[in-house]
Structure formats: C-alpha cells, structure tokens
C-alpha cells in the first residue's frame, strides 16, 4: 500500500510530499469506502479507454456517492491518525464539490473509479497498477 495511506502517516510537509501523496489516488480507489462507488460502465472496445468514452455521461450520481465515500475515508483518516490520507481526502473533496469542483473527467478519483468500471470488461486490469497506468494515458 502507498505509504501515505498507512495509519499514522504524517501529513505532507512540502511540495515534494504533496506530489508523493497525490500519487496514491489509484490505490485509494480500491478502499472499501469508495470501492462501492464503481459505476457500471458499458463495455468498451479497447483498454484503456480515454476520456472520450465517457463524454456526455451523467455522472452526478457518481459524484454524490464519492462524496459520501470521502466522508467515510475522512473518518478513517482521523481514526487511524493518517495525515497523508487526511490530506488526500481534503484535497479530493475540495475539487469534488463546491466552487472549485472539477468536471468528472478531470477529477482523479472519479477517473480512477470510471476506469475501474471499464476494467470489469477486461480480465486482469482491475488492479491499482493497471488503473494507475490507464490514468497516465487518460489524456
């Protein structure tokens, strides 16, 4: 597991730490609090799908479910005194709802969950490593 997600991990101290923590998003998409948010995605022809595969989809429900999941993850971070997880949850929530909310296809956690949904139609790719690689090729 990414060290920033471990219980007792310190919060990031500088820009380099922030970069390190942000890379934990693909693994965060496999936490049980948000794993239930993985949407049902129609099978696409190839793996990995790009952002165009989700153009025009109504993803408001996904956003609402992920907000609940992030709330639960925030409680886990507090319970486990995980500064890295707490920072990641705060950051992802900040860009999920409110004035700074990003489009779904620009939000890393939503993208990771969409990719997990698409991965169900492809054997062996619903893993943090393959989701991470797909995120790097998202565009």
């Amino acid at each position: 597991m990414h060290p920033a997600l471990h219980p007792g991990s310190p919060p990031p101290a500088d820009d380099q730490d922030v970069e390190f923590v942000l890379r934990a998003v693909p693994e965060l998409a496999f936490f049980p609090e948000v794993a239930a948010c993985v949407p049902a995605v129609p099978a696409t022809g190839h793996w990995p799908p790009g952002r165009d595969a989700f153009a025009g989809h109504d993803l408001d429900d996904l956003r609402a479910h992920v907000l609940q999941g992030l709330t639960a993850l925030g409680e886990r971070a507090e319970r486990e005194r995980s500064g890295g997880l707490a920072f990641l949850v705060r950051t992802l929530t900040y860009f999920l709802v409110g004035p700074a909310a990003l489009p779904a296809v620009e939000h890393p956690l939503l993208v990771a969950l969409l990719l997990r949904g698409a991965a169900r139609a492809h054997e062996g790719v619903d893993t943090p490593l393959e989701i991470a690689r797909a995120m790097d090729r998202w565009g």
Partner: protein, 262 residues
C-alpha cells in the same frame, strides 16, 4: 496529462490558502505579526530621522560585462555537425577540450500515477543504427544459387558512440560555435525523436556541457559558460537518471536538438 493538471491545481490551492497541508491550520494569533508590531513600535520611539552627515555617496560606476554567456540553441547542420548559438560573442574555442561536451538521448516520463515522473539519459548510440549488407560469399553470383547463399542479407547494427570530435568558432558569426561529431546521426535516431510511441514518454536529443578549469568556453570578457546538466559529462556510464522530478526540469536551459535532416 491528468495528473500534471491536477497537481498544478492542488499547488495553486495550497498557495492561495484554500487547502492546508496539515489538519490543523495555524492559530489566528500564531503569526509573525507580533514581532513585526514590536519592531515597529521600537522604531517609532525615535524623535525623528537619523541625522545625516552630508550628501549621499555617488553611485558606483557601471560595471563592465558581468553577464556570462548563455547557450540559446543547438541545431543540426548535417549528420556530422551541430551548431551552438550563444547570447553573445564567445572567445576562441581552439583550446577547449571536446570532452567537455556529451550528447544524450533523454527520455522524459510524464506519468504521475503509473510511475515517478523523471528524466532518463541514455547514450544516443543505442538508437543510432546503420544498415549493413555483408557481401555474399564467393560462389553466390551464379544462378541457381546454392542453399548456403541464403544467409539473410542486410541487417541493422548499432553505431559507435556519437562523441564531439572537435569544435570551432564560426568563421563569420562570433556568437556561433560549430561541433563536429565522431559518428553521423542516423535516421533511426531521428525517428525516435520525432515519433515517440507512447504519449507519456518524450524523447529529446540534448547536449551537456561541463565548465571549470582553464580551457573552457568564455565570452570576450573571460566569463565562463555555465555548466549544462554536467553530471552526464562527468559520468562514465551510459545511463543516468533524474528520478522524481518533472521531465527535463534538470536541464537549465532546456535546449532539445530538433532533427530536421531526414
């Protein structure tokens, strides 16, 4: 790239104060303003401005050339020749050791989630191939050819290292220096530069330079050219990595050599 765009947004939010690194932001009274106020109060206790002893000293005379030369661009003239453009005229390079220069094929990795972004240097020779067609063995010029004549024909082989053989001042423009190479650049190397196979990778051909010592590149005032990613010059290996940093951020200046020859 998704990760790069998001990273920029996060850093901007942190800089604006909208996001904090730790869970607990600093207490409102826990700032440096107290000490600033105290300092202000101390200075206001004086009865007025400090007495002056006369007119201020005249400003120092303007210095001469204090700006070192800078490398502006590196271009390919032909497969054997590179041209360096500087920000100002440079002194004679007759005694400059060509070993101060070294070419690299730098691979930048732009991914965020599938690995660490970074820059990975390799010797260009590993991507520089020439076609070699050995002559057919004796006795293969007749028809029909015996079976041992079908030996495979041509194949591609790696060239010797591409090193800087010598350097010269341009015969007209004093801001230009010409480098000759020991081995010509081949189309296979340019193909790598012009068409990366994967969108999270980018390949550039880059020149590195080590400064210091007596025989180095200087401007006409004797100010030396700063080093350019000189770890690659000082490193004997054919591999060198700058991991966990934005691609090509360790090149200052970043001057990819475009390939327009083929």
């Amino acid at each position: 790239m998704l990760g790069l765009r998001f990273s920029r947004l996060v850093h901007a939010a942190i800089a604006s104060g909208a996001l904090v690194l730790g869970a607990c932001p600093a207490e409102p009274g826990d700032t440096d303003s107290d000490s600033d106020t105290a300092a202000t109060e101390m200075t206001t206790d004086t009865d007025g401005p400090l007495p002056t002893t006369g007119p201020p000293d005249p400003p120092p005379p303007p210095p001469g050339d204090i700006t070192p030369p800078g490398l502006q661009a590196v271009t390919m003239i032909d497969p054997f020749t590179l041209q360096l453009s500087f920000t100002e005229p440079v002194a004679s390079v007759e005694t400059v050791n060509p070993k101060r220069f070294r070419l690299s094929l730098a691979r930048g990795y732009f991914g965020t989630y599938g690995g660490q972004p970074g820059t990975y240097l390799r010797s260009p020779q590993y991507y520089n191939f020439t076609e070699y067609c050995p002559p057919p063995p004796p006795g293969c010029y007749y028809d029909p050819q015996p079976y041992y004549c079908y030996y495979g024909g041509c194949y591609y082989q790696q060239t010797p290292p591409i090193e800087v053989a010598d350097l010269f001042n341009h015969y007209i423009d004093p801001t230009l220096v010409v480098l000759s190479l020991t081995t010509p650049i081949q189309p296979s190397l340019c193909n790598i530069l012009n068409a990366p196979e994967d969108p999270v990778f980018d390949f550039v051909l880059h020149l590195h330079y080590a400064s210091g010592g007596l025989s180095q590149i200087t401007d006409l005032a004797g100010l030396p050219l700063p080093p350019l990613s000189d770890a690659w010059v000082k490193n004997d290996s054919n591999y060198y990595n700058y991991p966990n940093s934005p691609p090509f951020s360790n090149f200052n200046p970043f001057l990819p050599i475009p390939c327009t020859l083929f």
